[in-house]
């Protein structure tokens, strides 16, 4: 067993940390950017699907339920790998960045659709009927009466989902997206030292811990109409 100074020399080596800081910063930027893009497209698409489902058109509902079921059932890494290694063989080569963003957005959309739909269907029918009887169109009633209440109900579950899915940007390293984990692994094997991995781990905690604490706060203080 090494001495404690040996431990710090191995896992928190300042020289190596300084040397690989720029590479890791680029990786962290890719992780943050991809994560934000996934949250944006995933939630917007998910809410749109939930609204479409509320139209109660049979074919549409069936398609949306199938989409949500398949994407919630498949492991995200499997979706990423099929898209990245499979699609080029049928003439559709996609970049690692696109695949990571696209696959995770679809997964988040599926979960968002389920949460928001659960919110919409938990509201009494009277809400929609009363709103319509004041002269609002279906769309206005949905936009101003039903959806705000449904979203309020969905927020606590949704924050947890958003955290666990944006954390999955680390899976991008498997399809060689140069995000934080990939950058750290590269730096670690180049330097033969785990310090870059420790730095990446620390960065993930710095990025995601505030979100986890926010979700805890939301769970306690969010008023569910």
């Amino acid at each position: 067993m090494q001495t404690s100074s040996g431990f710090f020399f191995t896992f928190f080596n300042v020289d190596i940390a300084v040397q690989y800081l720029p590479a890791l910063a680029v990786g962290a930027a890719v992780t943050l950017g991809t994560g934000l893009a996934v949250v944006l497209t995933g939630t917007v698409l998910g809410v749109a699907l939930a609204i479409l489902r509320a139209l109660e058109c049979r074919v549409l509902t069936l398609a949306i339920v199938a989409f949500a079921d398949v994407l919630r059932s498949l492991p995200p890494l499997v979706i990423l790998i099929v898209m990245y290694f499979g699609l080029p063989e049928v003439g559709l080569p996609l970049s690692a960045l696109f695949v990571t963003w696209f696959a995770l957005s679809l997964v988040l959309a599926a979960y968002t659709e389920e949460s928001v739909w659960a919110g919409i269907s938990s509201l009494p029918d009277g809400q929609m009927e009363a709103a319509r009887s004041t002269g609002l169109s279906w769309w206005s009633a949905m936009r101003w009466v039903v959806l705000p209440q449904a979203l309020r109900r969905a927020v606590p579950t949704l924050t947890n989902r958003i955290i666990s899915i944006t954390k999955n940007t680390a899976l991008g390293s498997v399809v060689s997206l140069n995000e934080l984990l990939n950058a750290a692994q590269g730096a670690s094997s180049l330097s033969g030292n785990p310090t870059p991995l420790m730095m990446a781990a620390l960065s993930y905690v710095v990025i995601f811990l505030p979100l986890v604490i926010l979700s805890r706060w939301l769970e306690r203080n969010w008023v569910r109409c």
Binding site: Q2, L74, P75, V78, K167, Y204, V205
Partner: protein, 222 residues
């Protein structure tokens, strides 16, 4: 269309790799059978500490542990354990590394579920159980935990499904579970059909579970 069948739904390839993938599927199943109970039990212990302990510092330490691992991507944890541990001077085999990473990660998720469950049991239950002469741990085991577990059953099932899906990341350290087997077969045959077949197998395994979970959640919300 022909290229799609040739590359994604190539039945001769399917027939070739099917036994091999079934072996991978079996590894996925027993890996889950190890990490799910271990994670759930550790999570239960953490939740009992958070809700029952009278020592403030202990409660806060456990909460810090839970939040830390909820913020930590499981793949990063696995890679840190698998590639970082040897630097401590001890070699870890793949399975041990995977089990350590999974239990560290899952325990925090299960702890959150059980915590919500335990907090949902009325205070009077503990008091009533104690007044019948049960010791504290007996009241916990026979009165509080069974009620808490029943109340959060959908979340427990949901979390276990997530763990089952998460076993795919063991492929990154070359543990031969279903996804790894499929990728090896793909590399060997220069054909992506095995990974499509693996996706189909995951779907067959997980779709019924996802549906069942939906039913459980629906029953609770009524």
């Amino acid at each position: 269309m022909e290229s799609l069948i040739q590359n994604f739904f190539n039945f001769p390839v399917y027939a070739d790799v099917f036994p091999y993938l079934m072996k991978g599927l079996w590894t996925t199943v027993w890996l889950s059978a190890i990490v799910i109970p271990l994670g759930a039990i550790s999570g239960l212990v953490l939740a009992v500490i958070v809700t029952q302990s009278s020592r403030r510092w202990l409660r806060w330490t456990v909460i810090a542990y839970i939040d830390f691992f909820r913020a930590f991507p499981p793949l990063v944890l696995l890679i840190l354990v698998y590639f970082g541990w040897p630097f401590l001077g001890v070699e870890l085999d793949k399975l041990t590394a995977v089990v350590i990473a999974f239990v560290l990660n899952n325990a925090s998720y299960y702890a959150e579920v059980f915590r919500a469950g335990l907090e949902g049991v009325p205070k009077g239950q503990m008091e009533a159980a104690r007044s019948t002469g049960l010791a504290r741990w007996q009241a916990l085991c026979y009165v509080l935990i069974p009620q808490a577990a029943r109340n959060v059953l959908p979340d427990l099932v949901g979390n276990s499904i997530e763990v089952l899906k998460l076993t795919t990341i063991a492929s990154v350290v070359a543990l031969p579970e279903l996804l790894r087997s499929a990728r090896d077969a793909q590399a060997l045959l220069y054909n992506p059909s095995p990974i499509v077949l693996a996706a189909l197998l995951y779907l067959v395994l997980l779709w019924p579970l996802t549906r069942w979970l939906g039913k459980l959640e629906h029953r609770r919300s009524r």
